[in-house]
């Protein structure tokens, strides 16, 4: 039987830094012996002097801890996945992980860049997603699967049949139901650990500061310019990172705005006049493009939470799905920006519908056909 063994970070010096190795074995005990033959020293790291697996090390076969199976005599089948998970020292925030969580997040935990500390950061994070639609759906889904502790979703709309071509949080039976309710049910069905807070309202100048203040990071999945300028300005005022994304036809754009380092208004100081740049409802959008851009936003959000990698900050990623070309353009803080420049003239929220020349309804309240 050839099985895949996931090696925890502290043991990887034994395996030449390999996170996963293939081992032939019929039982877990045989697996540990064979692992030791291939990588001498592993055996002594796992077994104690009485030749028992100590309580601070859990071994999982597929998703089950071997204590609940036949211990180290647990039989292995071809293709089984075995994870060796030592207890995690140094729980800085007191968020101990349950064995179920250790298994659920094992593919994160075994990565050097995440590890148990990073996974606990994810579990402690609070992320607000504006819109439970094309972009908000994949963003919310991946952040939920990743175990983000608190996910807020703001959306006033109800599920429409025409949403189902791309909005993967909602299903046929949800038509006519509030999107935030459908979203919460879907997300908790995927991962009951995650606390989903629903804000069933348009985001407006009256409520945006209060809502956004409850979160660490904001992800933008709005569908109109008024909401985008509102979300931008709130994030500037409250100094929240904003993970931005937008889609139309076969085109996607994504970037990250970090406090004090430029904003949406630096990139686009003014919205186009109404009607000039069509909406997805008017012009269409390829459903699968939402997944592409939303996954980028979810990835950037997780990187921000973990503090790893190079953020998309300072770069505007352009995705042309028709040519399947991705390019990055430089963006920077505009010293003359009216909200985040050196001498800002907009210092509180304004009337964004008037600013964008739209019909006088709440920003974000624009009906979607």
């Amino acid at each position: 039987m050839s099985v895949t063994v996931y090696i925890p970070t502290p043991f990887r010096r034994m395996t030449g830094n390999r996170a996963a190795v293939q081992i032939e074995a019929g039982t877990v005990a045989e697996l540990l012996d064979n692992l030791d033959q291939q990588f001498p020293g592993v055996h002594d790291l796992i077994y104690n002097s009485e030749h028992h697996i100590p309580q601070h090390i859990n071994i999982y076969v597929n998703n089950q801890e071997i204590g609940a199976l036949d211990g180290d005599q647990t039989a292995l089948s071809q293709g089984d996945q075995v994870a060796i998970i030592p207890a995690i020292a140094g729980g800085q925030d007191g968020l101990a992980m349950t064995p179920e969580q250790v298994t659920r997040y094992s593919r994160h935990i075994i990565m050097n860049q995440v590890g148990p500390t990073g996974q606990r950061k994810i579990m402690g994070a609070k992320v607000l997603i504006v819109g439970a639609g094309g972009l908000g759906s994949p963003v919310a889904l991946y952040l939920t699967l990743a175990g983000v502790g608190t996910i807020g979703i703001v959306d006033f709309d109800v599920v429409d049949l025409s949403n189902l071509q791309r909005q993967i949080l909602h299903q046929n039976d949800d038509i006519g139901r509030p999107k935030v309710v459908s979203a919460r049910e879907t997300l908790n069905a995927y991962n009951p650990d995650v606390k989903v807070i629903t804000h069933e309202t348009p985001l407006t100048s009256d409520n945006a500061m209060e809502i956004v203040a409850q979160y660490d990071i904001v992800v933008n999945g709005a569908d109109n310019f008024a909401a985008r300028y509102l979300v931008n300005d709130v994030c500037v005022f409250l100094e929240k990172p904003l993970v931005d994304g937008s889609i139309l036809l076969f085109d996607g754009q994504s970037t990250v705005y970090l406090p004090g380092k430029g904003c949406y208004r630096c990139l686009f100081p003014q919205p186009p006049p109404p009607g000039l740049v069509p909406s997805c409802a008017e012009a269409g959008v390829l459903g699968a493009l939402c997944g592409l851009v939303g996954s980028i936003q979810a990835t950037e959000t997780l990187k921000l939470i973990l503090g790893i990698g190079d953020s998309l900050h300072g770069r505007l990623l352009l995705i042309d799905a028709l040519a399947m070309e991705v390019r990055a353009l430089k963006i920077r803080r505009d010293l003359n920006c009216v909200v985040c420049g050196d001498h800002p003239t907009v210092t509180e929220l304004i009337d964004y519908d008037a600013f964008c020349g739209a019909a006088p309804v709440g920003a974000g309240a624009h009906a979607e056909a």
């Binding site: 972009l135 569908d223 186009p272 740049v277 430089k330």
Partner: protein
Amino acid sequence: MAVDVVVTSTLQKITGAKSVRGEGTTVGALLDYLDQRFPGFRAQISGSDGQLHRFVNIYLNDEDIRYLQALDTPLKEGDVISILPALAGGR
């Protein structure tokens, strides 16, 4: 100077293609050339005063021309110009 001009889907309606060849010694001259070749092009991206709309950005290679010499930014053979209006869609 022959340069490549890349546009988004919304401008493609006028150019007929995602990427077109253009000519000009500056960005401004290039826009004049494109407007002659594709009538209505300039009206899509700039106002009656000739100034670029503030929701449209033009990039020389990967740099915003606002941080270069705006419409006077000189072009050289083989440059890539990207014309990028804001997109709002998310749902």
